[in-house]
Symmetry: C2
Subunit: 319 residues, 2 copies
């Protein structure tokens, strides 16, 4: 393996000149330029990018933290990040965490150790202050509604989005409304819960714990919830559901059980994945791709910004 100094010797110039030529800097005479390229050719020179990273103090790599790679919500976000990163000469390092704090720290440590220039949390388990602690090492961005002066955020207003979902149902006369969520802990989930409680209060309905279905993230979870729903003595007539995947599971299981949607059970999903279109699920479209793209832009910048993106209702046939 030859290095830049070998090239310099063969081309009869200094390493500085070699570096200049390789990086297309000005102020190098044409003949030397040529000599350098010939030497590169002759010695089959391969740059060692790790030396560049060490020298420059940056890597043009962004770390992406996501709990589950194989889930359309996160896949779509990741795609948005990747599409934005591509044209910008950035690479992505993905860290699948399963919501384990250690894995999240591992991702943050990549920032601390200068392996990545920034970190994007598509979702998280670790407390907020942990992200802040690592802020000194570089940009950290989160995909949730927080206005922190150190950490950039990109989000949709989950309170309003959930409210919209509730309103659609209420306009159709529903008063007995439940909801599905992946985990209660998440900050986006909490916003949804607040909206849930507030909306119920407006119509004078109590919050019934049995109507809140946790651990709903995948299609199978939807099927499970439907089963639970059938066993409820006092069951809700409508559900606002984590995402389209869970909504699909719910809908398909309902079909199997001969439960008509929306007559006996109305469903509102989130995301507007292709699946929702195919199954004609009424849903709230979230600009996941754009959230990803903006998250990337934030991650490569040292400025702290906060941005909310719009969502909108897609009316189909489950309400």
């Amino acid at each position: 393996m030859s290095n830049i100094r070998d090239i310099a010797k063969v081309a009869n110039v200094s390493v500085t000149t070699v570096s200049r030529v390789l990086n297309n800097h000005p102020y190098v005479k044409e003949d030397k330029r040529k000599a350098v390229w010939e030497a590169v050719e002759q010695l089959d020179y391969q740059q060692n990018i790790n030396a560049v990273h060490l020298s420059k103090g940056k890597t043009s790599v962004i770390g992406v933290v996501l709990p589950y790679i194989n889930h359309p919500y996160f896949s779509r976000l990741l795609e948005g990040i990747a599409d934005a990163a591509e044209g910008d000469g950035y690479k992505l390092m993905v860290i699948q965490t399963n919501y384990e704090a250690e894995k999240e720290i591992e991702a943050l440590d990549m920032l601390r150790l200068k392996q990545v220039d920034g970190v994007i949390f598509t979702s998280r388990n670790s407390p907020w202050y942990v992200l802040k602690e690592y802020r000194t090492y570089g940009p950290v961005v989160a995909c949730e509604n927080k206005l922190d002066e150190e950490i950039s955020t990109i989000f949709i207003d989950h309170y309003q989005a959930f409210q919209l979902g509730m309103n659609v149902l209420m306009e159709k006369g529903h008063r007995k409304i439940g909801y599905c969520i992946s985990r209660r802990k998440g900050s986006n989930s909490q916003k949804r819960h607040e909206a849930y409680c507030d909306q119920l209060e407006k119509i004078g309905e109590p919050v019934r714990d049995k109507w809140i279905f946790e651990k709903c993230l995948h299609m199978e979870d939807g099927a499970r919830v439907l089963q639970e729903w059938t066993k409820l003595e006092d069951a809700p007539t409508a559900l606002v559901v984590t995402n389209d995947l869970v909504a699909s599971g719910l809908l398909l299981e309902a079909e199997k059980m001969g439960i008509t949607v929306p007559e006996r059970l109305a469903i509102v999903g989130f995301d507007d994945q292709p699946l929702a279109e195919a199954l004609q699920i009424t849903t709230i479209r979230l600009p996941l791709h754009e959230i990803g793209a903006e998250a990337f832009r934030q991650a490569k910048s040292d400025q702290v910004v906060h941005k909310a993106l719009p969502f909108r209702l897609i009316e189909r046939k489950t309400v």
Copy 2:
């Protein structure tokens, strides 16, 4: 930012000793160990991983090439890779290519420049010899049925798997069978095509070009194909379909059009995604997660191995 030499000064030892302490090597007296850790604490030392990478000549990062991040086939593969990489202290760099050759080269260049220790091609567009060219820079693995002495491969036998799909249909009396594929060019696709032709020949049926539906990868493509199918004068009675996603699109569109499955059109999918279970699609289960895991193992090893994994038919209600 302090470095290892600063630590050495403060702790009154050599950099060698500091390095030994930080890496938990033996042969360091307890008092020096302590002095080093105290200095680390005092100076708030942060290792620069790029220096480590440069020095060691490896990064414990594997590059993963995939055409589309946001597709359950590739997501599931990636998940398998990630799960295997996790316990092994490896990180993953993902490159989304959209099947563009340049992007694939970019991924291979990361290997050449020592940014990654190995590269996994979950699918590719570039010709095979290109991968071989880069083999000198490190392990390259492909997820397709090729027995090359330089490049490791992990795959399922797509010829046999497709054959199985055809047989299931033929056993039910189908003779007019078509198929869907993402792109004809891929080597896995070609195996399927061979199987298709061979099986048709066995029953004396011709290969009808109109019964081969290309560019089928997503759910929407399934809906499109169903529409095309309805317009065919002489239409097949059964389709072997790219994957469960396309099969779902097909099935749901059929339902909308009032076309009964499997009576008027039988469908066999591939993968066995949760969606296939939910929609009761007969499919051929591919061990995608395990393919990913094995691909990772191959990518971190310099030995060239070839491995085929088993598949199996999951009979449900679309045949």
